[in-house]
Each structure stands twice: as C-alpha cells, then as structure tokens.
C-alpha cells in the first residue's frame, strides 16, 4: 500500500513537473516581456528595458473597457449558441432513435473542419449586404438584410456554430455512457419524459455542462478570426482583436502591450478554473457511469421525429452546408463571384488539379498526419493520467496539476511557439527544426481541451468500478487498461478526433516552429490563402473537409464497436 502510494506520488510529481516546465516557459516569457520594452528580435527572458508602460497603455485607454464588454457579450452569446446546438445534436445523436443519426457526427464536423479564415470569408459572402447569397434575396423580399455580416449577432452566430462541434463531442461522449437506472426510476415513478430530462438527466450532466460552458466561454474570449474578419471592419472590437492587433498589425509588433493584455486572459482563465473547481467540489454527486448497465436506452421519438429532423435540417443547411457550398463554389471558380449563370460557365476542376500537383503538398500532408496523430494521442494520454490524479487520488497539490493543464488556454499560440523556440535552442537536442517540436508545442496548447474531455468523463465514472478491480488484485495499469480505457473510449475517441482536426487547422505554432522539412498543411493553406489564391485555398479546404469527414465517420463507428459499424 505504501509502495503504491509512493509510486503515485512519484508519478504525480513527474507528470506535474514535466508539464509544468513546458507550460511555465511560455508563461514566464509572457510575464517577463509584458514588463519590457521589447522589439523584434529581442524577445527573451532577459530582464532589460523594464517598464510598466505596457500596462499603463493597455489599461488606461478608455476604449479597453468597451472592448472588454464587447468580448463578454461575444463570448457569452457564442457560448449560448454552441450549447444549444451542440447539446441538442448530441442528444439527438446519442439518446434518440432518429433514423440515420449515425451521420450526424460527420455533419456536425463540417464547421469544425473548415479553417477559421475560410469560414469567416464564406459567411461574409453569405451575409454581405452587398453580395451575400442569403442577404440578396432577403433584401429583395423584405428591403433589409437578414443579418449583417459585420455585426455582433452575426459574429455570435458564426462563432457559436463553429464551437458547436466541440460541445457535441464533449457532451456526446458523456451521455453516450450514462447509466439509465436513474432515468428509468424517474420514468417508472410516472414522470413524463420532459420532467425526467429536466429533473434527472440535466442535473446529472451539470459538471459536464459547466465544464463545456467554461471552455466555450474562454474560447469565445480568445477567438479572433471571426471578430477580426466580421467585426473589426465595422468598428466592433473585442479583447482578442487588440492582442492580435498589437502582435500582427503593429509594425514593429508591440509585444509588451499584447502580453499586458494577455494577463487579463490569464486572470479570466484562473477565475473560470476556480469556478469550475467549486462546481466539482462534490464529484460523487455526478457519477452517472456505474458498474452495470451503462449503455443508456434510446428515447423513442415517434411522432416527434419531425422536430428532430427539422432541427437537424436547419443546422445542416444553415450551419454546415451553406458555408461548405460557398467553399465548394469558390473551389471550382478561377476567382470568387456570387453564384450566377454567367459564373457557372467558368466552373472547372482546374484548382483541384493545380493543388494536387503542387510541390511539397504530399510532404506537408505526411507531416500533418504525423503531427495530428502524435499530438492528439499524446495529449489524450497525458490528460487521462492527469485527470486520474486529480479526481481519483487525494494527493496534496493535485489542484496545481489542474491549473497547469488549464493555463495554456490563456496564451496565444504565438507565445508557445516563441517560448519553445527559445527553450529548444538553449540546449543541444535533435528536436529543433523537426516536426516533433511542433508536436510538443501542440500537446501543450491542447492540454486545456484534452483535459476537459477526460475530466468530464472521469468525474462521471463511479469509484465502485476501480474498487472492484482493486479488490480483484488489479494494479493501476491493469485497472487503467481493463476498466478505464473501455469506459472512457467514447470520450477518448471524441477528444482525439477533435484534437486531430484542431491540429490540422491550427497554424500559429507550426508557422513559428517549422523547419525546412516540416511544413504542415495548415501553414501551406495559409500561405496559399495569404497569397490571394482563394480558389486554390478553397480547393485544398474542400479536400481537407472531405478527408476529415470520412475519418470522423470511420473513427466513430470503430469506437462504437462492431455492432455500430454494422448500422452503416
């Protein structure tokens, strides 16, 4: 027993310190440089040119407060949209007998797979008051636009739809494995379905919902692509736009100012984490996966199926297919123009031929697959271990580990990139300039997201299962393999899938750390897009969406097991 406790202690501190070093380096870089007058080529840990002016400039500007309020509205609004769509879709997919529901994941993934910039532009082309595909007929009918692309409601809608896949995956993996006993007890006592849902199911899902809502809120605060494309043009500025502005628009970049703004993000993150931990103070209240009968019964929709189909259709058409259609349309034209008979004459597959013949494409694809698989699997492995230490042990300092896991959410990707560059240049190693340094940086970047998947899942598994394993003589690793892994497979699959897709899209870290032989598709796509080749970028994006959509269907069917696979 003592030996096992020692092992746990050693394991805990090894994990905490290893992750701590990789998280603390960007944090230290951010804090040190927020107090420096720092110019291009001068980023580092040196304590020179110290100043408080960055904080004075950031927080004495009266507009900062207004931007902060805009950020709150934007983050709360998009969180609300994402929760409504993500939870409803997860419920329809995992808990109802809606026909063809197996295809919901692939549909839901479309907004996630589409690169942020491409998605933003697609929505501008849909909702532009001048040339918007949706707004033009609407204006003709009603004399005013349905939704102006450059307004907070439009930003909230697009960001909310973009984040709904994350909600779907996080919530879906939990309700897929819920113990039906409590719901059945509710139903057995004569409660109608809606009452069981509101009085039993929803309260049981509270920690998962709170965790997801928190994650979405922080993502909303951090998001910059949609606010930048859809808000900044119309004078609607949010907090993240300011950070991005200081880092990217200003020339030379105002690193100190950007990092001073980042400190607010860190405080928000810490505050949100504190709230989350308070919510989870009594984790036993939320265990919904027990030792028997953990596969929940499907709800028969019957005559309410039309409602499910209607909701699915609305999301499918407006949320996923319309932007994808714009992307597809752009990919077959030499340059983008709104759909018309005249434009139809210009349709060809030239962009696809050009993209597939591009030098380095296949090298970039190979690197991307390595990066995606290694960073997603690596992150999930580490976060499963971390979640276990946090929720299944009584070790002191375990909240520190949770803090370490969540903190990277407050860093812009660029900070992680620069910090890793400096860190890996400071000692001899074979990783610098290879794909593996990008993998490590992605793992650090993805810890907050990976841990939300594993935290929410582990909290809900009753301790009786591992107690039973322990009573049968199984050690930690056997319990992990035979109890935890099978029970956590849906969450692990969803988490891995989400991170895999994310690693295909995120370019800020890879752009800084790539070597001459470690180009990845996200950077490749950005270079094409940034060069003004919207047609080629759209063609590559369509290929990515199709590939990842196919991969989503296959991986989820495999995760559900042979029985589910036969449903296709």
């Amino acid at each position: 027993m003592v030996a096992e406790l020692n092992l746990r202690l050693i394991g805990f501190w090894t994990l905490t310190l290893a992750l701590g070093i990789f998280v603390a380096t960007p944090l230290a870089l951010l804090i040190v440089n927020s107090f420096r007058t720092v110019s291009v080529g001068d980023l580092g840990f040196q304590l020179t040119h110290l100043t408080l002016l960055n904080y004075v400039e950031a927080y004495s500007n009266p507009k900062t407060f207004g931007m902060f309020l805009n950020s709150l509205w934007f983050a709360l609004g998009s969180m609300g949209v994402a929760m409504v769509f993500g939870c409803s879709l997860a419920f329809l997919c995992e808990r109802t007998d809606l026909r063809f529901r197996q295809f919901i994941p692939a549909l839901v993934m479309i907004p996630l797979i589409m690169p942020g910039v491409v998605k933003g532009i697609a929505w501008i082309f849909l909702l532009s008051p001048r040339i918007g595909v949706l707004n033009q007929p609407w204006i003709a009918l009603f004399g005013r636009p349905l939704l102006d692309a450059q307004s907070i409601p439009a930003m909230v809608w697009v960001e909310g739809i973009s984040m709904s896949p994350l909600t779907f995956l996080l919530i879906g993996s939990i309700i897929q494995r819920m113990d039906p006993a409590l719901e059945e007890a509710g139903a057995g006592s004569g409660a109608p379905k809606w009452k069981v849902l509101s009085r039993v199911t929803l309260p049981l899902l509270m920690p998962a919902l709170a965790g997801v809502a928190l994650l979405l809120f922080i993502r909303g605060i951090e998001a910059f692509e949609i606010p930048m494309l859809m808000g900044a043009n119309a004078g609607i500025f949010v907090f993240s736009t300011n950070i991005y502005h200081a880092l990217r628009d200003a020339s030379p970049p105002e690193y100190g100012l950007a990092f001073a703004y980042c400190m607010t993000l860190i405080l928000l993150t810490v505050g949100a984490l504190w709230l989350y931990q308070r919510q989870l103070r009594r984790t036993e209240r939320y265990t919904v996966v027990m030792g028997k009968g953990y596969r929940p019964r499907l709800i028969h929709l019957g005559r309410w199926s039309w409602l499910g189909w209607g909701f699915l259709g609305f999301y499918g058409v407006v949320g996923a297919l319309l932007p994808f259609f714009i992307l597809l349309w752009a990919s077959v034209l030499p340059y983008y123009e709104p759909p018309s008979w005249e434009a139809l004459a210009k349709v060809s597959l030239d962009n696809y031929v050009t993209v597939l013949r591009m030098d380095d494409l296949w090298d970039a694809a190979k690197n991307t697959i390595i990066l995606g698989l290694a960073s997603s699997v690596g992150t999930m492995f580490l976060t499963v271990l971390a979640s276990w230490f946090i929720f299944r042990t009584y070790l002191g300092w375990r909240k520190l580990l949770d803090f370490v896991l969540f903190l990277p959410y407050a860093f812009p990707g660029m900070i992680v990139g620069v910090a890793f560059m400096i860190l890996f240049l400071s000692f001899k190693n074979p990783l610098y300039n290879t794909i593996w340094i990008i993998v490590l940086a992605h793992v650090v970047n993805f810890l907050p997201i990976g841990s939300r998947f594993t935290h929410a899942a582990i909290v809900q598994v009753h301790k009786e299962l591992e107690e039973a394993a322990s009573a049968s003589g199984a050690g930690f690793w056997r319990t992990l393999r035979h109890v935890w892994v099978p029970l956590l497979t849906p969450a692990l699959t969803n988490g891995t899938l989400f991170l895999l897709i994310l690693s295909f899209k995120v370019m800020s870290v890879a752009a800084l750390l790539q070597g001459p032989d470690s180009m990845v598709l996200s950077v490749y796509l950005w270079n094409i897009w940034g060069g003004g080749e919207a047609g080629l970028a759209s063609a590559l994006s369509v290929l990515l969406v199709i590939t990842l959509g196919f991969f989503t269907i296959v991986s989820r069917s495999l995760a559900r097991g042979p029985a589910a696979a036969r449903e296709f």
Binding site: G41, L43, A232, D249, S251, Y336, D359, P516, Y524, G531
Partner: protein, 363 residues
C-alpha cells in the same frame, strides 16, 4: 557546419576577387568556382521570408543551374523571420542562409549584427543609388505601391480615380477598402507630398481624415485577400494594394485593374545573407543568381510582380504587365536605402501607424 576560419577565408577571397582591378567577366568564374565547389559540399540552402513557397516552387532556373544545391524554404512574415534569426543566431544555431523581406524591415537584422556583407559583380549593373553603402544587404527589386485597384464591373472608365482627391469623392462613400497591414502609409504619403525634403504630415493626415469621413472600410486578413473581394463585386475600390495579387487575378480573368497616376512610392525588396550561416556558399549562389540578369528575369516572370533593378535584365511577364498599367521605375520615387532608413525611422512609422489606426477607428 563550416568553421569560422574557412568562412572568413571564403569571404576574404570573394572580396579580393571582386575588388581586384583585373576583375572582369573572365575573372568571375574563379570566385564562382570557389563558391560552387563549396556549395557542392553544403548541398542545400535554406531561404526564409516573404514568398518563400513561390520562390522554391517557381524559381526553376536556380535548380537547373546549380542542381547540387537543394533549395529549401520557410514562408514567413518579416517579424517572424527576424525573431527566428535573432533567436537562432544568439544560440549559435542559425539554420537560415538567406532571407527576403521589405527594405524597411531589415534594420533589426543590421542592429543585431547578424548580416554578412555581400559582394558580386552583378551589383555593378544596378543603379548605384539603389544599393546600400554598407553592403550588408542587396536591394533586388523595386516594388512600387500602386495607388489603388478597381473593379471594372463597378467602376466605369471615366470614374477611375486620377488623383488622391478622386478617392475621397462622396460617390465612393463606404465603398473604398484599405488594409490594416498598410499602416505605414500616412508616412509614405507624407513623403510623396513632401515639401522640400520634409514630410508633409498635414497633407497626408488630411487625406486619411477625408477617407474616414467617407466611411472607408478598414479591412482585415492581409493585403492580397481584399482584391478577391473586389473581384467578387463587394467593393469597387481598394487603396494601396500589392501588385502581385492583382496581376494573378487579372491573369485568371477577374475584373480588376490597377490605378496609377504620376509618382508612386517605390518600395524595395531586399536579400540578406548571414555571418553564421550554415551554408554560406550556397546562400551566396542563391543571392547571386537572384540579382543576375537571368535570375531577375525569372523572378519577375514567375515569382512576383515587381520590377527588376539590374539594368542588363529584361523584365519578366509579371513586370511587363506592371509596366503596361503604369507601374514603372520612371513613375516611381526612387530613394537611396540610407535615405529610406533615415527618413522612415521607428518613430516616424509609429506616428504614422498610431494616426492610421486611431483615425480609421481601430484604437
């Protein structure tokens, strides 16, 4: 990696040959031979900077001429390139051999003492005023900033702006887009409208204030993507575009055309090599090729819509298309590199940037 001693010898040799009174085309091969022999051992050159992907993909002549040197590329914005070079050079592990960027971005690399002097007999064919006296970088091409681009579907030929005032005509209210990335423009316009040798801030600021009153749209996501919005018919006018993206879309049949009237601001594209480069000879060969007549032709034919500065070089297709739309060296305000660095100091650019963002509604 080469030792510092042999790198120094190589440098001395190249200097001696270049400055020798007997220097001529006949003497040049000996320098080139030395570089070629060394580059064969090095086997590769790593380029980082703007248009790196295009350079690697489209610059076929270099690989044909030096098949033993593999051209590798990392596409990055200027500040990313500078940060990386500074971090790597300070750690003694520089992996970049050549960088390419806009003239005004090169200063941090000079201040950091990272740059190696570059000499080549091709430089004698460049207008003397275009090359820095320090020899610490090479001005390769002229990149004049066109005044604007317009949608030929939305703007009639008689409506095309012919002066700065035409851009702020009330009929374009809410229909002109500018890029956030062009935040140095108030300073450049102040130079174009200068009084003697002094920046005319008043006239420049007045123009941008009028733009704001006319509800100019401050667009995001880079310079190149806005041209697509013109091609799509979303906006009729875009101020200060990059020529390359306009020409690429024109070649695909998009209804966009450059706007130029007398006196363009002439930006420079520069190449640099580094003191502690891992492949100094291969880096030298790449820059030497880029400034040679065939390199200048090929670069302006396939890689970027800029104008060659080597007097012996013929302009490539992209450069010719620029010439056809009024973007010529003669129409450009050519400055000496030292003059550019002296006038467009960090303070001046900061003043321009602060004004740009505060006036157009950012801060």
């Amino acid at each position: 990696m080469r030792s510092n001693k042999s790198r120094f010898r190589l440098f001395l040799l190249s200097l001696a040959i270049c400055f020798s009174p007997q220097f001529s085309w006949a003497a040049a091969p000996s320098l080139r031979d030395q570089m070629i022999a060394q580059a064969k051992k090095e086997g590769e050159v790593v380029f980082m900077g703007d248009l790196a992907t295009e350079l690697k993909t489209l610059l076929k002549g270099f690989s044909k001429k030096y098949p033993f040197v593999q051209l590798k590329a990392i596409d990055a914005r200027s500040e990313e390139t500078i940060n990386r070079i500074a971090a790597e050079a300070k750690a003694g592990r520089l992996s970049i051999d050549v960088s390419g960027m806009s003239m005004e971005d090169v200063e941090p690399l000079m201040k950091g003492n990272f740059l190696a002097k570059f000499e080549s007999f091709h430089l004698a064919d460049f207008p003397a005023k275009t090359q820095p006296r320090s020899g610490l970088y090479v001005v390769g091409q002229l990149d004049p900033i066109p005044h604007g681009v317009y949608s030929t579907k939305l703007v009639q030929p008689n409506e095309v702006p012919k002066s700065w005032d035409d851009f702020v005509n009330p009929k374009w209210k809410g229909k002109v887009i500018v890029s956030r990335s062009r935040n140095e423009l108030p300073a450049k316009l102040a130079w174009l409208l200068r009084k003697g040798n002094d920046l005319n801030w008043d006239a420049s600021f007045e123009f941008f204030r009028k733009l704001k009153q006319n509800d100019v749209v401050l667009g995001g996501a880079g310079i190149n993507t806005h041209v697509s919005r013109l091609a799509a018919g979303e906006f009729p006018l875009f101020l200060f575009p990059a020529s390359g993206s306009v020409l690429r879309l024109q070649n695909k049949g998009a209804p966009v055309k450059l706007i130029t009237f007398p006196n363009l601001f002439g930006d420079y594209e520069v190449w640099t090599v580094f003191k502690d480069s891992a492949h100094p000879a291969a880096g030298w060969l790449l820059v030497d090729y880029l400034i040679s007549p065939e390199g200048q032709f090929e670069y302006t034919d396939t890689v970027n819509a800029v104008l060659p500065l080597n007097k012996k070089a013929s302009p490539g297709k992209l450069a010719q298309a620029l010439n056809g739309q009024g973007v010529t060296p003669e129409n450009s305000d050519l400055m000496e590199p030292e003059q550019i660095l002296k006038i467009f100091t960090e303070e001046v650019l900061k003043k321009a940037q602060d004004f740009y963002f505060s006036t157009l509604g950012y801060k």
